[in-house]
């Protein structure tokens, strides 16, 4: 119910017509830096399987760019779940190599690494004598059926024409499905990294609505000729918990801020290893 928090903001903003702000000096005790892990594996696009390693910095450190961690040993191993045990395919353990250690350090990649639905993956990192590890799985794919749009004409005002996108999918009868839905607006295709699909990014699960054919309409009013690249992913529960906490962490602030902590899925560092079963669809909003 982030809605309520937002409403609370609006109410406060309404009241605070006299509010002002000024700069203030804040001194906080320094804290040891930690390694941040951003790792993905999916069944659809091997180019979007990668590991990024960076560092946390003290808040007032003026360095604001990605602080990549160079020279780490990064491996991903596929496994098959047999009951409670996992059989790891050690022979096919794959090392990810640093893509551009000099220009953009910290990005590890292996084009031969592919993900499969229903498999388990183990991530192992060694950096400066530190061992960081985590596992994830690519859940069974819940396919996205289609994306449609609707143009609503305002009879009074030609300018306020609404263009709304709706996604359609069959939510499976079994409970415990978690989703991450992302989209990017624009016709170009040369983007890289899940972070480049930033126009919409939402996580949800089937706790409230389970086992029905779902239609979800976005509140955003698109423009004519927008090209929307839509990525609909199934993720496991630890990944859902991480992305849900991430969503809270990035929208945190103001008088109602709470100290949000990321629910990491890796041990020895901060961040997540996310397995995704992805459906990708494209939509162009056309003038009728």
């Amino acid at each position: 119910m982030k809605l309520f928090k937002n409403i609370a903001y609006i109410i406060t903003a309404g009241l605070l017509f006299t509010s002002c702000e000024k700069e203030i000096d804040v001194q906080l005790p320094p804290t040891p830096s930690e390694i941040v892990v951003e790792a993905y594996i999916n069944q659809l696009n091997p180019l979007f399987n990668y590991v990024i390693l960076s560092r946390t910095v003290d808040y007032f450190n003026p360095q604001l760019n990605l602080l990549g961690v160079k020279g780490a040993q990064v491996f991903i191993t596929e496994g098959t779940l047999n009951g409670n045990d996992t059989a790891w395919d050690i022979a096919n353990k794959k090392q990810l190599l640093e893509l551009a250690p000099d220009t953009m350090p910290g990005i590890y990649f292996n084009p031969l690494l592919t993900g499969k639905e229903g498999k388990v993956y183990k991530l192992e990192i060694t950096s400066d004598g530190k061992y960081i590890h985590g596992t994830t799985n690519i859940p069974a794919l819940v396919p996205l059926d289609s994306i449609t749009y609707e143009v609503k004409i305002n009879p009074d005002n030609d300018k306020d024409t609404g263009k709304f996108m709706t996604i359609h999918f069959m939510e499976p009868a079994a409970t415990g499905n978690n989703y991450r839905a992302m989209y990017r607006i624009g016709g170009d295709t040369a983007y890289f990294g899940w972070g480049s699909i930033y126009d919409g990014d939402a996580v949800f699960n089937d706790e409230i609505i389970n086992g029905v054919y779902r239609h979800f309409t976005y509140g955003r009013n698109f423009n004519f000729d927008d090209t929307i690249n839509y990525y609909f992913s199934c993720i496991d529960r630890p990944a859902y918990n991480f992305w849900e906490s991430y969503d809270q962490a990035r929208s945190n602030g103001g008088p109602f801020a709470t100290p949000v902590q990321l629910k990491s899925t890796v041990i020895g560092g901060i961040g997540s290893f996310t397995g995704m079963a992805v459906t990708q669809k494209k939509l162009i909003i056309k003038r009728k």
Binding site: V26, T31, S54, T56, P62, T166, D188, G193, Y198, L262
Partner: protein, 796 residues
């Protein structure tokens, strides 16, 4: 409206019965009622002193009655009450007697603020410690922001009671949280005491007769919260004539009508208030948000019936509501409305059996709820949450002789918790989801004995025994360790006990008089609290939920020891006190970082449990009489919490830990027409949890952008790692009564200036990392600079 009582109406009352001489050592009872001579309003807490060979004293109860056990003989009787002329009379008592007194309002010092609704030496003579009170009159004279008066803001000017700051009516008593205060409106519990997210309290100053705050040494007849009892007494209607009182202010207006139903026997009073700040602000708002509205209103009503000399019946009602509506009229048509508030209805029957025994029986219904509706393009969403209580309370007061007073009674509450009901429609799919209701019985019985062992030594010993029983029907869903529902439930049948908590709450206090104007007091109190407020932010949100003790959630426990030295000077013109307290607390509750509180079926899993400790010293110097009155309060205190999951289990400073807290309140009567008030407050800054580190996450690159994409995410390491700058502020106000002698229609003006020197007091702090300029800055948001306001009040 103090000018109402300005005329000399009824002269002093002299009862002289010639001495018969015969004077046996027999216990007799002198009792009666103290009322305002003009309105017939009962005066609660008025002092009756009986000065003879022994000096005895008492104060009137909540219905304005007093009772004294005396030996036959001659006495000088002194009846006094704040803002009224002290009445002195001689009385000879030969048999049980009933004497009613009418007090006349202070005529010459109209508008003079008395800082206490107490006997002039109650400070020293009573056994109560850690107790402070304010009259409605004082509260009305000390406006807070925008010229509004505010009960809960004004009590924070007293030592040991700390304000949460602007935008927060929450108050913090001796290191306790905002949910650890029992706020009572004429004995009815008020669950959410704030309007507009904490900018105003729910109490309309017009409807308030007096407020009493008990910070420690709680009598056994009160319980259910750890830290304090705030008793807000609603005003009774005038039994002689119909009166209308009102006020027009910058952001709200008030109207109150009172009068007799049957002359001298029964009365009514109805007070209403509504804000219109949103209406006034609308012309200045951008078109896109013009459709929004935000206001609150509240309504207080009280009916009083005197059914004869032995029975009185009271009906009370309260209803307050905040409403907010947000409309986006563009084609995606989004309308959101939310409204929330309290409803209280109660009836109280006061019965006198004989001169030694009286009783009070109350039945109260109260309800807090939040309703919201969102309508958007493809559907709608409705959410409801709330809490309902039905309370029955029976209290007896028994005074067998002049040395012993006994209070005993019992209380029972049936709680219904409605954490959330959601129904939604979207693209033809309807969703109905309910967080299961919870039910509980809460009960308590108590006995409290006051015993005046010698004129110097006075003791009180009490025992309260309370219990809390969470019962079915309840269907508790089970969750796995990752927070996902397992699909399994534990189901309890209707009335089936889920968990029973119970415990003894011993109370003890003493007073030792060193001399007539000096005493030492001490107390020990244990309190248990079975209800907990689920809140994670520093502001009061209407979505904050009360949750019951359950199998996982233990009741909170506090033990408090307090000692104090009380001394008055210059015939009680100056009162001083110093009190020290030590208060450990168990089973304190916090929420995990980032906990989702609203609409969470697994809320208990978000809670963590720990300990708390608070100790401090409170100093108070008051001047109670004369043209200039007021007080200076200073508190030194330290409050910590210790939770295994935070800061490696080390103690950390509580959010409202405040090393120094100072308040200065001065009222000066310039002449008959003008009076001036000055307030200064200083408090060490609140403790905040700020992120210590940041990181970049969710990386991406695209040919369109020269820089990679990523988000900057804050990383919290320790909690309570920063203290905000100190809060301080001075306010002044002037009350101007153009024609103080006009009795038919009185009007007065209140001119006030809030934050006189425009101090930028911190509301919150945020960090602003800017990738484009490669800078990281911290910014502090502050709310109110200097704000002048004017309010016009009238009465006829």
């Amino acid at each position: 409206m103090q000018t109402a009582h300005k005329k000399l109406f009824i002269s002093l009352f002299l009862v002289i019965i010639s001495a018969a001489g015969a004077y046996a050592q027999k216990q007799l009872t002198l009792s009666g009622k103290i009322t305002d001579d003009q309105s017939g309003e009962t005066l609660v807490g008025a002092t009756v002193l009986c000065m003879g060979t022994d000096t005895l004293g008492t104060t009137t109860d909540i219905n304005g009655y007093y009772k004294l056990s005396v030996f036959a003989g001659k006495y000088n009787l002194k009846v006094s009450y704040v803002g009224y002329k002290t009445l002195t009379t001689q009385i000879e008592i030969t048999a049980n007697a009933s004497r009613n007194f009418k007090l006349e309002a202070e005529a010459l010092n109209v508008g003079e603020v008395e800082v206490q609704a107490e006997a002039s030496d109650k400070n020293v003579k009573s056994i109560e410690m850690s107790t402070v009170s304010l009259s409605g009159k004082t509260i009305k004279q000390l406006p807070v922001i925008f010229g509004e008066t505010d009960v809960l803001k004004t009590i924070t000017l007293l030592p040991g009671i700390k304000s949460g700051g602007e935008g927060n009516t929450g108050f913090y008593v001796r290191g306790g949280g905002p949910d650890q205060n029992l706020v009572l409106l004429d004995e009815a519990v008020v669950y959410n005491a704030s309007h507009l997210l904490g900018f105003f309290s729910v109490f309309n100053g017009d409807a308030v007769e007096n407020v009493e705050v008990i910070k420690g040494g709680m009598p056994a007849n009160y319980g259910g919260r750890l830290s304090s009892i705030v008793n807000v007494g609603m005003k009774e209607g005038d039994v002689y004539k119909t009166r209308v009182t009102g006020g027009i202010g910058l952001i709200s207006s008030r109207l109150q009508v009172e009068g007799p139903i049957q002359k001298e026997k029964s009365s009514f009073v109805v007070s209403a208030r509504r804000t219109y700040g949103d209406v006034l602000a609308r012309p200045f708002l951008a078109d896109s948000i013009k459709g929004n509205s935000l206001y609150f209103y509240d309504l207080n009503a009280k009916l009083t019936f005197n059914l004869g000399p032995k029975d009185r019946l009271y009906f009370i009602g309260y209803m307050g509501r905040d409403a907010f509506r947000f409309v986006n009229n563009r084609v995606n048509k989004f309308t959101f409305s939310v409204n929330w508030g309290n409803k209280i209805a109660g009836v109280r029957w006061n019965h006198t059996y004989n001169s030694k025994l009286t009783s009070n029986l109350s039945v109260i219904y109260n309800d807090y709820d939040l309703k919201s509706t969102a309508e958007f393009l493809s559907g709608s969403l409705n959410v409801y949450s709330g809490l309902r209580d039905v309370t029955t309370k029976l209290d007896y007061f028994y005074a067998p002789n002049k040395k012993v007073k006994v209070k005993y009674g019992a209380q029972y509450i049936y709680h219904t918790f409605i954490p959330g009901i959601l129904s939604a429609q979207q693209s033809g799919v309807s969703i109905n989801q309910t967080i299961n209701r919870q039910f509980a019985h809460e009960g308590a019985g108590y006995v409290s004995v006051d015993y005046e062992a010698t004129p110097r030594i006075y003791i009180n010993a009490g025992l309260r025994y309370s219990l809390f029983n969470q019962i079915g029907p309840y269907k508790q869903p089970l969750f796995d360790e990752l927070g996902a529902p397992t699909g399994e439930y534990v189901e309890y049948k209707k009335g089936e006990s889920i968990k029973l908590w119970h415990g003894a709450e011993p109370r003890f206090s003493f007073r030792y008089s060193i001399d007539a104007s000096t005493s030492v007091k001490g107390s020990y109190t244990r309190t248990l609290q079975y209800l907990h407020l689920a809140t994670s932010s520093s502001a009061t949100l209407p979505t904050d939920l009360w949750v019951p003790s359950s199998r996982l959630v233990k009741p909170q426990i506090a033990d408090q020891v307090a000692v104090g030295l009380f001394k008055n000077f210059k015939k009680d013109e100056y009162e001083t006190s110093i009190e020290a307290y030590y208060k450990p607390m168990q089973n304190q509750i916090e929420f995990k970082p980032g906990a989702q509180l609203f609409f969470n079926q697994n809320l208990e899993n978000e809670m963590v449990f720990g300990k708390g400790l608070s100790y401090g010293v409170e100093l108070l110097l008051k001047k109670t009489r004369g043209k200039t009155t007021g007080w200076i309060g200073y508190t030194w205190s330290k409050t910590t919490r210790t939770f295994d999951v935070f800061n490696y289990g080390n103690p950390y400073y509580y959010r409202y830990d405040r090393r120094h807290d100072i308040s200065v309140v001065v009222t000066h009567q310039i002449n008959k027409k003008w009076n001036a008030n000055f307030v200064f407050v200083y408090g060490s800054g609140n403790v905040l949890t700020l992120p210590q580190q940041r990181m970049t996450y969710n990386f991406g690159i695209s040919p369109q952008s020269p820089l990679p994409y990523f988000n900057i995410v804050d990383r919290y390491v320790d909690i309570a790692n920063f203290r905000m700058p100190a809060y301080h502020r001075a306010d002044v106000s002037f009350n101007y009564t153009p024609k103080p002698d006009n009795k038919k229609f009185q009007s007065s003006w209140n001119f006030s200036v809030y934050n006189l020197y425009s101090r930028a007091n911190p509301y919150f702090i945020y960090f602003d990392p800017d990738v484009a300029t490669q800078t990281v800055r911290a910014r502090m948001v502050y709310l109110f600079p200097i704000i002048p306001s004017v309010t016009w009040n009238f009465k006829f």
